[in-house]
């Protein structure tokens, strides 16, 4: 295997507030890079997916990202950015 540097994915958490209800980027991503997690689990209570901040979008498998930008195009809030790192370590 040769070292491959993956693109850097930035999520603006102030704009991406209800990722579990929106789920566009999560289901668009061809390599299934994203994950969505509840911010806290409350006993005897199901979390409301429409309440801002209850779920958080995260990048789990960033090494799989191809940089195809499909998630950026599909995001209704402009919360995502995908950029290649400018310096590639040897």
């Amino acid at each position: 295997m040769y070292p491959v540097v993956a693109p850097i994915i930035k999520i603006d958490q102030q704009r991406c507030l209800t990722p579990f209800a929106c789920k566009r980027c999560i289901q668009t991503c061809p390599t299934a890079v994203f994950g969505v997690f509840e911010t806290k689990m409350v006993r005897m209570e199901e979390t409301d997916k429409y309440e801002p901040g209850t779920f958080r979008l995260r990048v789990i498998y960033r090494d799989k990202c191809s940089g195809c930008n499909q998630c950026v195009e599909v995001c209704p809030e402009d919360a995502l950015s995908v950029t290649m790192p400018s310096e590639v370590p040897a």
Binding site: P3, V5, A6, I26, A32, E38, T47, I60
Partner: protein
Amino acid sequence: MCRMCNSLGQGGTWYLNPKNYSNRMYKLREPGKRPTEALGNSPNAGAGQEAQAQTAAGGFRMALEAKANGDLDTFNQIIGEMNRRALMRPGGQVVPLFEVFEVLDMGMPVAAMMCICRKNTRACEECSLSEYTCMGLGSGMFKWERWPERYRGGVEFLSTKQAKEWVEYWDKKGMMHMLMQEGGDFIGGLCNCDYPDCGPIRQRIDYGLYAQLVKGEFVCFIDWDKCNGCGDCLGRCHYNALKWEATMEKAHIDQLNCFGCGLCETACPRDAISYLDRKKIPGLANVW
């Protein structure tokens, strides 16, 4: 033979030993310790790097970050260390459909529910029996109502007959079956999984975490005298083992990649695919 069969099988396959479905198995877990951390949801998420590396999820996240930055040495080091630690605590094992039926004859209660992996990686909300893909097995399921977020969309308790029909339904749709141990010596559930949304499959195939998903007891074998090259089995393999050999006009299984899930076997209309016992094949007996 793997450790699970040695210590729990009593001379046979461990999950076919009815003793392992008893309530007692729940109590064998180490007190106060969670066997596996939920991926990316660790309580130590904000802690320092060293504390993070102590949890399985934190270590895995650091490994992925290193790989994404092109640092393969760190990646291999962490994955190697995780494999050494997890050797004795398997996460799950692949089970073919005919053995799932035997498991369902023994394990009670059976409850269908949404898949936690698919909820997290594809934001799927499964709310009815035709959508549920995961199955809780054993008395631990009686406590589900305490954590509705964990069991989002509810839980449906099934009779043995219903459960068999339900698993067969998913088998037809192309989902493989996996017995979940979640790092302990007990049977926690039976998942219907596919690549890439399933956590264990992905961690095993993409990142080489061998203990997360142990191969099944069988290897699939195609009898080329019976295979007529219809191609019905193609596209069902989640493990890159099943290929089309164009020049021979037959399907082909790579035995070293095969996990023995039997999805190709259940799709074959001519019974050309059969199961070989992994333990009886010298070159595969230690490939788990």
